[in-house]
């Protein structure tokens, strides 16, 4: 008996020691869970919010975004437009070091640009207008553009700087999306946190970088990021205190979470608009009938038939915000002149549909079912609303992996899409969603409906190069008016952003759904 007791004690002892060591550290240890892990640590290999959001804690750009999404200085202390719109000059911060101790200077910026603008990169589109990059001295870098580019600094807020020596020494001079390389699993940035342990798909441990150039606002000594795929498990882990923060918080549990002790819900809206598009450049619908969506009256009728207020209140628990454009009101270039959505008016919708001779027309309405918050439920509701207005939509819902492939092959008559403008500027959705598709010019790559308007196509290059804010806004207002009058798309709402944390955590939410660790305080 004594032997068994001794064995038990021996087995338990390491655990007890570990526990007593862990206790004092836990005060400022922060454990956070997200649905997915970043697929790579390479900041130029995948242009997705999951990857760039996570890496924002480790790598830094020349500029960065603050709590209100406004640009602020990061590795560049200040920047200015070059004479005559020839490009932009960035004055680099001195005394910055990478996590491995190497010094940061213009050489790293030139290298990172070459890497990020390469064919293997997924972020090359940020540099489409860059003609050359020059470094007049080790702490000044000029980005020369083919035409004046007012939004260039906004475009590169997520352009992260890598150390030239480190990348080259480790055979990661170029990103590798297909097979991965050293930079896929390791990181060496200048950011406030450095990666001390990386187990892809399991956990990533971050610790504050003691030689960071900025003044830390956080009190974290160690942060552990773990993916938890199942929302119910994530929720249970938060309530039981196994994690301090989860993202996203499942929308169906929001009311209950608000009422749970020890837990807080952080609500905002994400800079992502949700809208419907139409396959409008074909003569026929997919099943062979005449294409009703060529007729602007039918598209307008859809605008009037959908009760966005009801969708927001009932399905999205009041957390979303109705919207009239393809960007959210907080973004640059939003058209205040066209802030109002077409009113919900069933009679008007019916009249327009009857007038267009589209009553009873059958078509496919397609939606993803795992991409946006409550996407399938929203579509289900819209099918009912359109049926009331006299149309006969057939709902198709697909997982994202199949949905976007089918969308590219134009397999639907009407489809749901979400868009977040990486530049937080109204030009972005025009370039990708409203311009006439043109693979050569890299325009309209998400314009699956084939909307085409000569005036919009003519205004886009002018908007891209206009340096005068007022003149630029006038053109953006004109495009917004055209898109609304033509009902090119039917904007619905800005998607809610729902996070949940333990009550003792103070943090800031940013509209691009990036989780910024240096704004977290554990109380």
């Amino acid at each position: 008996m004594r032997l068994i007791a001794a064995l038990f004690a021996a087995a338990l002892a390491p655990g007890l020691v570990a526990a007593s060591f862990a206790a004092p550290v836990e005060a400022a240890e922060f454990r956070w869970a997200a649905t997915a892990d970043a697929a790579t640590l390479d900041p130029h290999a995948q242009n997705t919010a999951t990857v760039l959001g996570f890496l924002n804690n480790v790598y830094e750009g020349l500029v960065r975004r603050g709590r209100d999404m406004a640009l602020e200085s990061a590795l560049a202390e200040r920047w200015e437009a070059l004479e005559g719109g020839a490009g932009w000059r960035f004055h680099l911060r001195k005394g910055v070091t990478f996590h491995d101790g190497a010094a940061f200077d213009a050489e790293d910026v030139l290298f990172s640009h070459a890497r990020a603008a390469s064919k293997q990169s997924d972020v090359a589109s940020w540099f489409a207008q860059v003609r050359a990059v020059e470094a007049p001295d080790p702490y000044t870098v000029d980005f020369l553009t083919t035409a004046p580019s007012p939004i260039f600094p906004d475009s590169i807020a997520n352009f992260m700087i890598m150390d030239k020596g480190w990348a080259e020494a480790n055979g990661a001079a170029l990103p590798d999306r297909e097979t991965g390389n050293f930079a896929t699993l390791n990181a060496n940035g200048t950011g406030a946190f450095r990666v001390t342990l990386r187990e892809p798909g399991l956990q990533t441990v971050l610790e504050p970088f003691d030689k960071w150039w900025g003044t830390p606002e956080h009190n974290i000594t160690r942060a552990i990021h773990k993916p938890i795929k199942n929302p119910a498990t994530a929720l249970a882990s938060l309530i039981s205190g196994a994690v301090d923060f989860i993202e996203p918080a499942p929308i169906q549990d929001i009311e209950r979470l608000r009422a749970t002790d020890g837990v807080q819900v952080i609500e905002g809206v994400e800079a992502r608009t949700i809208f419907f598009g139409f396959r409008q450049n074909r003569e026929r619908l997919l099943d062979g009938g005449a294409n009703i969506f060529k007729d602007v009256r039918v598209r307008e009728a859809v605008n009037h038939a959908i009760n966005v207020e009801a969708i927001v209140t009932v399905i999205l628990r009041g957390a979303a915000q109705p919207v009239s454009q393809l960007i959210d009101p907080a973004s640059r270039g939003y058209s205040h002149a066209r802030a109002a959505r077409p009113a919900f008016d069933l009679d008007k919708a019916k009249a327009l549909i009857a007038e267009a001779g589209a009553s009873g027309a059958a078509f496919t309405l397609a939606c993803p079912n795992d991409r946006y918050i409550a996407d399938a439920a929203v579509c289900q509701a819209v099918v009912g609303m359109l049926a009331q207005a006299g149309l006969a939509p057939r709902l198709v819902t697909l997982p994202a992996a199949q949905y976007f492939a089918a969308l590219r092959e134009r397999q639907f008559d009407m489809y749901l899409l979400g868009w977040s403008a990486d530049t937080f500027d109204a030009e972005h959705p025009i370039r990708f969603l409203a311009a006439t598709p043109d693979a050569e010019k890299k325009l309209g790559s998400w314009n699956f409906g084939g909307f085409s308007n000569d005036r919009v196509d003519a205004l886009l290059p002018l908007i891209q190069t206009e340096l005068d804010e007022a003149a630029r806004q006038a053109m953006l207002d004109e495009v917004a008016a055209i898109l609304q009058d033509e009902a090119a798309y039917v904007p619905l709402y800005v998607q809610p952003l729902l996070w949940a944390a333990r009550a003792n955590i103070a943090l800031s939410q940013r509209a691009d759904n990036f989780f910024i660790l240096r704004w977290v305080t554990v109380n």
Partner: protein, 327 residues
């Protein structure tokens, strides 16, 4: 015996080839990996380049042959989602799944046989009745619901056990184990119950039914007439004869435990191969999906083979029949 094993091996290889072919024919319906790999600013050109680099522009037969060619050399390709060799990924994740499967297997077999015998011998007793009623929960509730229920009770309400993950693990170089730390052992409890419950009730009900059948047989009656002790009758004579079908079912269930670990691993964020597979499906990570499916198929085939051999060894009549047929 040798000819028998060789024949079964040849059949097994055919099964594996067929599984691979069917899997590759299905992958195109899972979706397109491109959207999980590229950001929204990708161009038409980017898509075409990536498709060509991944070999997606070829027919599924061609993709399958390429996969087979690599697999024969022990090379399963690189995960498209994680950019790491699939063989390494599977080797890293396998210990988690196998430890979980082992614990739930032991739980299922041990408790299943024990409770099965008990309920057969104490038929009509209130405890046996309660166990039988309780076992209905095990067969009728879906795994994920049991998992969530357990998490809610033991992690959220009572706060005794962790709600997800594997706890602290010890790296032995070739194997990471959760058996050597307290948090690792605690983390095993809920997932192994969730995973093993169905198998446990199945084995228990099977043992009970078989046992009741055997206890009615003539030789048991003769044994009683000879005045043998009850314990000896129950365990040496009755139980031993119920075990042949139990072994078949248990063997197949071991495969099922590993395969169905997908759901349990998703609920508990258990870092095993099942979770790896689910994530691969969502991102249409074909190299990982293909390797996992082949691995599971190989596992089932191997278990079946072992069960067949065990069967021959346990039941002398099969050997006699075979010998008789050969003559």
């Amino acid at each position: 015996m040798l000819a028998f094993i060789l024949r079964r091996l040849a059949q097994s290889a055919l099964v594996l080839l067929a599984v691979g072919l069917i899997a590759f024919a299905m992958f195109r319906f899972v979706g397109d990996p491109i959207d999980a790999m590229l950001g929204q600013e990708r161009t038409v050109e980017d898509i075409a380049r990536l498709r060509a680099a991944l070999g997606l522009d070829r027919s599924f037969v061609e993709q399958y042959l390429r996969f087979l060619g690599g697999a024969l050399q022990g090379e399963f390709g690189v995960s498209w989602r994680l950019g790491r060799p699939v063989g390494r990924l599977l080797a890293e994740r396998a210990p988690a799944t196998l430890e979980l499967a082992l614990v739930s297997g032991v739980l299922a077999v041990g408790l299943g046989i024990g409770l099965g015998v008990y309920t057969a011998l104490r038929r009509g007793g209130w405890l046996a009745g309660a166990i039988m009623t309780g076992s209905l929960i095990g067969v009728s509730l879906p795994t994920f619901l049991i998992g969530i229920l357990l998490i809610w009770v033991f992690s959220v309400e009572l706060g005794w056990l962790p709600s997800f993950g594997r706890g602290e693990t010890v790296d032995l170089g070739f194997w990471t184990t959760g058996f050597l730390t307290v948090s690792g052992l605690k983390a095993l409890i809920l997932p192994s119950i969730t995973l093993g419950l169905y198998q446990m009730t199945l084995i228990m009900r099977l043992v009970r039914a078989e046992m009741l059948e055997v206890l009615r047989a003539d030789y048991i009656r003769f044994a009683r007439a000879r005045g043998l002790r009850e314990r000896s009758i129950h365990f040496r004579h009755a139980l031993k004869n119920t075990l042949a079908p139990v072994i078949t079912v248990t063997g197949l269930q071991i495969g099922a435990i590993v395969a169905f670990a997908i759901i349990t691993e998703t609920v508990f964020q258990w870092p095993g191969v099942g979770l790896l597979f689910i994530n691969a499906v969502q991102a249409v990570d074909i190299p990982v999906m293909a390797a996992y499916l082949m691995l599971i198929a190989a596992l089932f085939v191997a278990i079946n083979l072992i069960v067949d051999i065990l069967y021959v060894m346990i039941d002398p009549r099969l050997r006699a029949d075979r010998a008789g047929a050969a003559r």
